[in-house]
Amino acid sequence: MKPRASAAPSLSDPPGGLFIWLLVALELITFGVALAAFAASAKAAPEVFHDSRQLLDPRFGFANTIFLLTSGWFMAEAVRHFRLSDLPRSRRSLVLALGGGALFLVSKGLEYSDKISHGHTLGSNPFFTWYWLLTVFHLMHVGVGMVILANLLRRLDRTRPEDLEAGGVFWHMCDLVWLLLFPALYLLS
């Protein structure tokens, strides 16, 4: 199997296929609109958002970023090894990518538990409403991504390269969204 770079790029055949990129575009637009609405809400009640943001622990956000980026790296490696027909390394990278996702879920669970125990729930104030909506929606995507990766792992020897690429594109979309959520929710002053 040749690396993708050897083929001339086609408008109707982006890496992973057209369908997954249309899905990614819709997801990014959805998250983009939600984050824009979050920014507008923050402008309407700056003190509430500032004070509430202090109640979040940015170390959780930092750790989650590292987990997702590391997982994304392993996913990219899984695709690369697959293209080189090195299935054992591709499988190992895919397992490690799933491990990164699992660490993200555990870390998010700990963070949610902490927030709930302190009474910072969906209805606490506008900031926490957005915090829960945005992060749970993102977490659902990570969960779906892990199911996709696990399915690809289960039948890796029968998987087409485009399917693995499409799974990778979806997984990296979770990275992309988190890279925007992290500064917006945890750090912006």
Partner: protein, 70 residues
């Protein structure tokens, strides 16, 4: 290539905290990280120019809009 991208992403994440006082810089860092993920990990560097321009344009447009609304 993937390892270099990964290390660059980690380095950019590490300087996110000092950048927190400057919203424009903070979101610019996020934008650079998105472009790295898109072009390297998602393999957009090998995609048709329309996809590359569309992705970069979307990231730039979104960050500009977000900062304008903030």
């Amino acid at each position: 290539m993937n390892l270099v991208t990964y290390l660059a992403l980690i380095a950019l994440t590490a300087i996110t905290f000092p950048a927190a006082r400057h919203p424009s810089f903070l979101m610019a860092l996020a934008g650079i990280k998105c472009l790295l993920v898109g072009f390297a990990f998602m393999d957009l560097r090998h995609a048709h120019p329309v996809w590359r321009l569309g992705f970069a344009g979307f990231v730039a447009f979104f960050l500009t809009l977000f900062l304008a609304l903030s």
